[in-house]
Amino acid sequence: MQLNGKYEFNGTQQQVWDLFTNPDSLAKAMPGCQELKETEPGKYDALMKIGIAAVKGTYTGKFEIGDPDPPNRYQLIGEGSGSPGFVKGVTDIELTASNDKTIVTYQGEVQVGGLIAGVGQRMISGIAKMMLGQFFKKMKKELKASGPAGS
């Protein structure tokens, strides 16, 4: 499925770049992220507990920050698998300055497979969008919490 959208952040482009490439911020913002460990520069292993109502699963994931062009854009490459199924995707993340704010635009292609994709087909896109919304909301909170002192 295609996932795309944009969010406005109250920060400079550099501040937002730092936020989006900081594994601690990412771990705090990603819904259900229990652990995010950098294994190599720009590569992470993650443990995520994701679910909605009774449908809950634990996924082990791998993320990679690909083609970084600080502070403008990078490609987020990720995959996760758990007993309910698997998720694989590549998302282009672009930062643009707008007055004294930064607009984060994302455009991605995500594949969901396994049982959850079959049985949950009619809700997968909606739930994915919802989780992305939660992620960006939390990232905005992270930015606010880090204060104007980000370089």
């Binding site: 009774a54 449908v55 309910p84 049985v119 896109s125």
Partner: protein, 291 residues
């Protein structure tokens, strides 16, 4: 596949259920009709550590009238509601809608409370609950409270019921004489999940204008919801073809659907428009004040 192992307990009283939920809230799940929970468990999409089987609770299976309301116990089987002449008389909208819930075997076990708590965005019972602006009664360690549809449905499969609460009753307003109603569903086969579900209610003035309209949509958003702009367009007006078409358009625009295997977002949006127009027409005809 088969369910993962779990602890099973079948309490006899609501108090026991609440105590169990409070003690095991992270891992316990209520088993009512099981028509939604068992598929999830059979596929291991969910593995609650404990199942609290409430089918043995007495006193939660009833249908009765209380003044201007129809009260239905949370554990009442959908089939019982379907075959009830009291519901047929006092809430024909629910009687009609419930015939679209799966098939007879499903309705023989599924419960009205379970359907609401499961909160499938395309669920017929949740959609009707929104249209009628009913209430559900939840019982928890703090006591009982009533919840209306707007507060109840949060998102996909998620309600504002606390993990320590049990839904025990559904309270539905009885429509006054002269009110029109309609339930329609679009699905590929009989008994399938709705691609679009529409429940409409029209309250009319003596002069033939519409006093209030209710348009509830299922299957086009993370929860069933009321298309408020479309409803406002009809309030106080004489309902002619043009105005109904306008309401249909507004309802379609309110849809917040995604593409999926069954239908594209555009198709759902367009079908929402079409179904709302048809449903309003049917509801209007039932008021006896149609032109």
């Amino acid at each position: 596949m088969k369910p993962a192992a779990f602890e099973y307990i079948a309490p006899k009283t609501v108090e026991e259920v609440i105590d169990l939920l409070a003690a095991h809230e992270d891992e316990a799940k209520i088993l009512a009709g099981g028509q939604s929970l068992m598929p999830i468990m059979n596929f291991r999409l969910g593995r609650p550590g404990m199942l609290i089987d409430i089918n043995g609770l007495a006193g939660l299976d009833y249908i009765k009238q209380q003044d201007d309301y129809l009260l239905i116990g949370g554990l009442t089987r959908e089939r019982t509601v379907e075959q009830s002449s009291l519901v047929q008389d006092l809430c024909p909208l629910l009687s009609k809608a419930i015939t679209f819930v799966g098939h007879t075997a499903i309705r023989n076990r599924g419960t009205i409370g379970g359907s609401l708590v499961h909160a499938d965005p395309s669920g017929e019972i949740p959609t009707v609950f929104c249209a009628l602006n009913g209430l559900v009664k939840a019982v928890g360690p703090e006591g009982e409270r009533w919840i209306d549809p707007e507060e109840f449905f949060l998102t996909f499969l998620t309600t504002s019921l606390e993990p320590t609460e049990l839904l025990v009753e559904v309270k539905l307003p009885i429509l006054p004489a002269g009110a029109g109603w309609s339930f329609m569903e679009l699905s590929r086969r009989a008994g399938d999940f709705a691609i679009i579900g529409v429940a409409t209610v029209l309250f009319m003035n003596d002069d033939g204008t519409c006093r209030e309209a209710r348009i509830a949509l299922g299957g086009v958003a993370p929860t069933p919801f009321r298309a408020e702009e479309a409803e406002e367009a009809l309030a106080g007006q004489m309902l002619d073809e043009q105005l109904i078409a306008k309401a249909g358009e507004l309802a379609g625009e309110a849809a917040d659907a995604e593409d999926d295997y069954h239908a594209s977002a555009e198709y759902r949006q367009e079908m929402a428009r079409v179904m709302v127009i048809r449903s309003l027409g049917e509801a209007l005809a039932r008021t006896g004040k149609g032109n």
